[in-house]
């Protein structure tokens, strides 16, 4: 064997002789490891009883992002049947229900479709508040009523009952029907028969066509 080989063999024999570095390490681990297991076991046994590390937290309400309304619907659609059992449909670009206590839904860009005897009729408006229980819309702003045969009624700020197929004005009202432009303090429209009742300083201006 070469000098280097003998020297290397000597180092490895020295490392392996009893009482050498390896024996000391093994001897230490023989004591350290079982005691570490014991300590850990003791810690795990005691852990649930200690108060300090309660890992619960309270979801604080103030810095969480809260939605203002109870329900927001995009492209909402409500349908129901009117007094005579005919279906009606109310569509809106957006519908917001402020709170669960009141059955009101704020509608934007709404369009109601009613089935009348002589075909469908539509009511369109920019803003309205739909009462879910009464199936009626309080329109604020202009409203356009169009019937199948071209009949047109334009007015604003009226209460439309889809169930009773009726419109009522809350107060002063102005508008236009085929016969002309009207204004009054109160108005009621029976949609199926297209009868318009105006009361209180009622005015009607009939612009005639020149065909006579």
């Amino acid at each position: 064997m070469s000098e280097a080989a003998r020297k290397k063999l000597g180092e490895r024999q020295a490392w392996a002789t009893p009482g050498g570095r390896h024996d000391r390490v093994v001897g230490f681990l023989q004591i350290a490891l079982p005691s570490a297991v014991g300590v850990l076991a003791a810690f795990l046994a005691m852990a649930p009883l200690q108060k300090s590390n309660e890992l619960s937290f309270l979801l604080s309400r103030d810095n969480v992002e809260i939605a203002g309304e109870r329900l927001r619907v995009e492209a909402a659609r409500y349908s129901g049947t009117d007094a005579t059992g005919r279906p009606f449909q109310l569509r809106a670009a957006s519908a917001v229900q402020r709170s669960s206590t009141t059955p009101f839904v704020e509608l934007a860009e709404l369009a109601a479709q009613l089935q009348l005897e002589d075909g469908p009729a539509t009511i369109t408006a920019n803003r309205g508040r739909y009462n879910l229980d009464e199936e009626a819309v309080r329109i604020n702003g202009p409203l356009a009523f169009r019937a199948a045969d071209g009949y047109r009624l334009d007015t604003s700020n009226v209460f439309v009952s889809l169930h009773d197929r009726e419109m009522r004005s809350a107060g002063d009202v102005t508008g236009r029907i085929p016969l002309g432009a009207f204004s009054a303090q109160r108005m009621r429209v029976d949609i199926p028969t297209r009868t318009i009742y105006l009361e209180g300083r009622a005015r009607l201006r009939i612009e005639q066509s020149q065909g006579r």
Binding site: L179, Y197, R201, L204, I206, E207, S209
Partner: protein
């Protein structure tokens, strides 16, 4: 001197002119092409003004996009017709816009330039501008009223002062 002209100023009235109506209550029955006005009704068209307790307007068109056309006005209950040249009172009036005739019946009193004429029926022909009163108390389409018993026409004319 007051020119006692029988020519009515309503001759120039355009029956196609807009009709403005004011009333306490208006009921427009589109399916029946009819509008009922009640409660001190005031109708204005051009230089004609017609007041009554109750007026029914029959019209046509409106939906076909060509615009409405009033065919006829039926007035009842203290009818008072006013125009720049005369004023007349009666119980019933019919204004036929197609034939341009205003017929007033029922205790008619016509006041024209200071002359007061009473009779059973007054017909104002808007085409000729002539106002004709006669004793018959029968309306154009059969509406009869009691008129004055003798069926005669009475009048009181004011004679212009002759200063010669």
């Amino acid at each position: 001197a007051v020119p006692a002209s029988s020519q009515s100023a309503l001759q120039s009235l355009d029956s196609n002119a807009p009709v403005d109506v004011a009333a306490d209550r208006i009921e427009v029955q589109d399916r029946a092409d009819r509008a009922i006005f009640s409660g001190n009704v005031q109708v204005r068209q051009g230089n004609l003004s017609l007041d009554a307790a109750r007026i029914t307007v029959a019209y046509s068109g409106g939906i076909a996009g060509s615009g409405p056309q009033v065919q006829r006005l039926d007035a009842s209950g203290g009818v008072h017709i006013q125009s720049p040249s005369e004023s007349a009172r009666g119980q019933f009036a019919v204004y036929d816009l197609n034939r341009r005739l205003i017929t007033l019946i029922g205790g008619v009193e016509l006041n024209q330039g200071g002359n007061v004429i009473r009779g059973g029926r007054l017909v104002i022909d808007l085409n000729s501008g002539r106002a004709v009163i006669d004793g018959r108390s029968q309306g154009g389409d059969g509406i009869t009223t009691q008129g004055n018993a003798s069926g005669r026409v009475t009048g009181r004319f004011t004679v212009p002062q002759r200063n010669n």
